[in-house]
Amino acid sequence: MAEVVLKDVVKTFTLQIGGKPQLVNALKGVSFSVQPGEIVALTGPSGCGKTTALRIIMGLESANGGEVRVAGKHVLGCGHDRGMVFQHAELLPWRSALGNVKFGLEMKGVRGKELTERAESYLELVGLKDSMDRRPHQLSGGMKQRVGIARALAIDPAVLLMDEPFGALDAQTREVLQAELLSIHAKTGKTIIFVTHDLDEAVLLADRVVLMTQGEVQDVVDIDLPRPRGDVVAVRAHEEFVKKRYHIWKALHAHAVPDALH
């Protein structure tokens, strides 16, 4: 059974544009499903609804129509079965790295010795055990996002949701974290759904890429690259990588280019 299922999900926003309320159809009947242990990338041009879809799966937004199920259960709000990694990490500035990882655990009701032990073990998983007493402003962008990942993983969710997690990082840090995410996935076997506008990243990390345009799923592309994909450079040179990246790029531009010319 699929871990995450979206069926005909519809989302409309009301935006005040020039003082007049205007209805925006962010999602116009989006359906896709994610298997347990799978990594799925949501990608597409800005405004295609990929982040909205992720936020609906998380329960931070509610859909206006259709249904979302995680492990068979209807999503009615946020839950400990899903862990969210935010685009800019969004760490609590008054808490240390360890304190930030503890936050999610505290909310799950973990207390005492177990709280510290689990938080420390997840910081160790992301390679930050030595920096656990640092506050967010004493961490680099990459380190912050590692703490964000540790915080989300610590509550042991069934699904890890990531909203452009590496989008704000420099190219080198991004590559390191991509490789690290792959190794974390290999260790934990978590189901991961992540949003990215970076096609390389989508093909590199995902088992399947859900390509969205204007609130609809345009295409779902299987990526048949062997795992582990830890050797990022070798993966990028792989024939499948090049082929799929080109395929997605063309699919995107078939849609985007005529639009831009209008």
Binding site: L92, P93, W94, M107
Partner: protein, 279 residues
């Protein structure tokens, strides 16, 4: 030979300097403040004596009057009698103002219901209400606490309210995504995120509370430091009048640094994050 010794010594000096290189002399904030006080004080001392002592005074005359009052014990009695309602009123204002500001900022309906009174109350001409306060609370300790409380609560409450409004939506969403109950969102996210604003409000409230204290002592039972001001003024003893005024200003400065110290203890991330010029 000389070259050799230098070469041999250089690394040792370097090693010693590695942990924290000491600057030769850095102009510290304290030095600047002290220098500024000396200059202003000296100018006042030089210009003061040429004035009619009825219309003004100067540091050495004020100092003499202060020593006289301290020796008679009047000053200490006045300070203690002023500080008690001050502390009670100020702390009560924080105790009520902070939670109220948190609730108004967090819940739109509370804001809609109560916000207007807080905004209006901030501009309330308190002096006009003092006679009413006396009818309600009498002339003693209670009315002073009430007056100080009334003036101090608004800056604390309004700042807290503004602070809550400024909490980034993303941080609240972190709470939501980890299924934090409303109380946990308030205690673990909203309150710490608002702390710098609360402290700013508490600093503003010190000034307001000092004014309220003097107003209370002028208009209710004449007592405390405000009482000395009034009595000295009535006796045309301008130097003596300045003694409590100076003490009140020193007190306000001291309390403000105390609150600032509290800020560094409670919200160190804020101090470290602020982008102020060092020089």
């Amino acid at each position: 030979m000389t070259d050799n010794t230098l070469a041999a010594k250089a690394p040792t000096a370097q090693d010693a300097a590695v942990p924290l290189p000491r600057a030769k002399f850095k102009l510290a904030k304290g030095h600047v403040t002290a220098l500024s006080l000396i200059i202003v004080g000296s100018l006042w001392e030089l210009a003061g004596p040429s004035m009619n002592p009825l219309f003004g005074s100067y540091p050495s005359a004020i100092w003499e009057a202060g020593v006289r009052m301290a020796q008679s014990g009047d000053l200490m009695t006045a300070i203690l009698s002023s500080l008690q309602p001050f502390a009670a009123g100020y702390l009560l204002a924080a105790l009520v103002g902070i939670p109220l500001g948190l609730l108004i900022g967090r819940y739109r309906m509370v804001e809609a219901a109560v916000g207007i009174y807080v905004t209006a109350g901030y501009a309330m001409p308190l002096v006009a209400l003092v006679p009413l306060f006396m009818l309600w609370f009498g002339l003693g300790f209670t009315v002073k606490v009430a007056i100080i409380f009334t003036l101090a609560i608004f800056p604390i409450c309004i700042n807290t309210w503004e602070g809550v409004r400024a909490v980034p939506k993303a941080l609240i969403e972190v709470g939501t995504s980890f299924v934090a109950p409303p109380a946990a969102v308030m205690w673990k996210i909203v309150l710490p995120a608002t702390l710098p604003y609360i402290i700013a409000g508490m600093k503003l409230a010190i000034g307001k509370a000092v004014i309220a204290m003097v107003v209370a002592e002028f208009f209710t039972a004449i007592s405390g430091l405000g009482g000395i001001i009034l009595n000295a003024a009535n006796q045309f003893d301008t130097a003596a009048m300045f003694v409590p005024i100076i003490i009140l200003m020193i007190m306000a400065v001291g309390l403000t640094s105390l609150v600032r110290l509290l800020e560094r203890r409670l919200a160190p991330w804020q101090t470290e994050l602020s982008g102020r010029e060092a020089a």
